[in-house]
C-alpha cells in the first residue's frame, strides 16, 4: 500500500469502524460510568446525552459533571463556566498534539472530511490510526470510521447510565480500564521495529517518568509525545535512513 495517495472512501470508513470495535466495549462501559455520575450530579438524560455528543471527552465530562454537582446546571455563571472551560482545555491538551501529528494525512483531505474527522478524534482511534498510517493506510475514511466506532458506544453508554442507572459489573474487575494501555503496548511493540528509535524511546520514557510524578494524567502523554518528537528531530539524519 506504500505510495498510495491520501484519499477518502466509505470502504475506509468501514475498515476503520470494524478495526476499532475491540475498543468500543471499553468506551461503552466508560460511557455508562459517565451517565451514572451525571445522574448523581443532577444532570438530566437529554442534557447528559447532549454533553456526550457535543463535548465527547471522558475525562473532561467527568470533571464538568463533578463541577456541576456544586454549581448547578448553569455552571454557576461566567466565572464557573470559565473554570470548567479551563479544566477541559488542560484535560484535552493532548489532542493538540494528536491533531498536529495528523497534519500530513488530514491536510490533504477536503474540509468536509477533515473537520468532522477531527470532531470524533479520541485516544484509541488516534493510536489505532497512526499505527495504520505507519503500515501504509492513506484512506482518511479509516480515521473517521475508527472515531465513529467510539462515538456511538460513548453515546449509547451515556444513555444507559443516565436513564436506567443500571449498575454494570465493575469495569476494573473486567479489565476494561486496561484496554487503552493494552492497545498502546501492543501497537507500540508493533511500531518499534529494528533499528529501534532509541532517542525517541529514551526521551519519551524519561519524560513520562518525571512528569508522571509531577502532574499525572493527560500531561504525561503530552510531555512524552513532545519529548519523543523533539529528540527524534534533533537526532534526525536525512541520509542514513531510507523511508520505512
Amino acid at each position: 500500500m506504500t505510495g498510495t495517495a491520501v484519499h477518502t472512501s466509505w470502504d475506509g470508513v468501514k475498515r476503520g469502524f470494524w478495526r476499532a470495535q475491540p475498543m468500543a466495549v471499553g468506551v461503552f462501559v466508560y460511557g455508562v460510568a459517565f451517565g451514572l455520575l451525571a445522574r448523581e450530579a443532577g444532570i438530566l438524560l437529554a442534557e447528559a446525552s447532549a454533553m456526550s455528543m457535543a463535548v465527547y471527552s471522558g475525562s473532561a465530562q467527568l470533571a464538568a459533571a463533578s463541577a456541576i454537582t456544586l454549581t448547578g446546571i448553569d455552571g454557576g455563571g461566567l466565572g464557573g463556566i470559565g473554570a470548567i472551560v479551563a479544566a477541559i482545555l488542560l484535560l484535552n491538551a493532548r489532542y493538540l498534539l494528536y491533531s498536529a501529528a495528523l497534519w500530513p494525512w488530514l491536510s490533504k483531505t477536503p474540509a468536509r472530511v477533515t473537520y468532522p474527522t477531527l470532531f470524533v478524534l479520541g485516544d484509541g482511534n488516534w493510536v489505532l490510526s497512526m499505527a495504520a498510517y505507519n503500515a501504509g493506510e492513506r484512506d482518511a475514511g479509516f480515521l473517521l470510521g475508527s472515531g465513529l466506532a467510539s462515538f456511538v458506544p460513548w453515546l449509547l453508554g451515556t444513555l444507559l447510565g443516565a436513564s436506567a442507572g443500571a449498575l454494570l459489573a465493575d469495569p476494573k474487575l473486567l479489565g476494561l480500564d486496561f484496554l487503552l494501555v493494552a492497545f498502546s503496548a501492543a501497537m507500540g511493540i508493533g511500531l518499534a521495529r529494528a533499528p529501534l528509535p532509541w532517542p525517541n524511546i529514551l526521551a519519551a520514557a524519561a519524560t513520562a517518568l518525571v512528569v508522571d510524578r509531577l502532574a499525572p494524567g493527560g500531561w504525561t502523554i503530552v510531555a512524552a509525545g513532545i519529548a519523543g518528537g523533539i529528540a527524534t528531530a534533533l537526532t534526525h539524519r536525512p541520509s542514513t535512513r531510507a523511508k520505512s
Binding site: 470548567i84 482545555l89 486496561f178 507500540g188 513532545i226
Partner: protein
C-alpha cells in the same frame, strides 16, 4: 426528556473548548514548514505517546498489570497481531485481578 435552557451557555462553552483542542494542533501546523526533520518528529509521536500511556500504568499497576504486559509482548512476538495481543492483555488482567483481589 427535558432539557433546561440555562444549560445551553455552559454546554456551548464546553463543546467549543473540546473542539478547539481537536483542531488547534492541526491549525498550528499551517505555520510550520514540514521539513523531513519535522515529519520525522511527527512520525515519532505515536510511539512516544504510547510510552507515555503504558509506562505510568505499569508503574502504578501491580502483578496483574505486569503479567498482562508480558503476555502482550509475547503475543506480539509470536503472533504480530495487535488486536489479539491487546485482548490477551485485558483477559490476563481480568483473570489475575480476580485471583489477587
Amino acid at each position: 426528556m427535558s432539557f433546561r435552557p440555562e444549560f445551553l451557555p455552559l454546554l456551548a462553552a464546553m463543546a467549543a473548548a473540546a473542539y478547539f483542542c481537536r483542531v488547534g494542533g492541526f491549525w498550528l501546523m499551517r505555520f510550520v514548514r514540514v521539513t523531513p526533520r519535522v515529519e520525522a518528529a511527527l512520525k515519532a509521536t505515536p510511539l512516544a505517546v504510547m510510552i507515555g500511556i503504558v509506562l505510568p500504568a505499569a508503574l502504578r499497576g501491580g502483578p496483574a498489570e505486569w503479567l498482562a504486559l508480558c503476555a502482550i509482548a509475547l503475543t506480539m512476538r509470536f503472533w504480530r497481531n495487535d488486536v489479539a495481543a491487546a485482548m490477551v492483555g485485558v483477559a490476563v488482567v481480568a483473570v489475575s485481578r480476580g485471583f489477587v483481589v
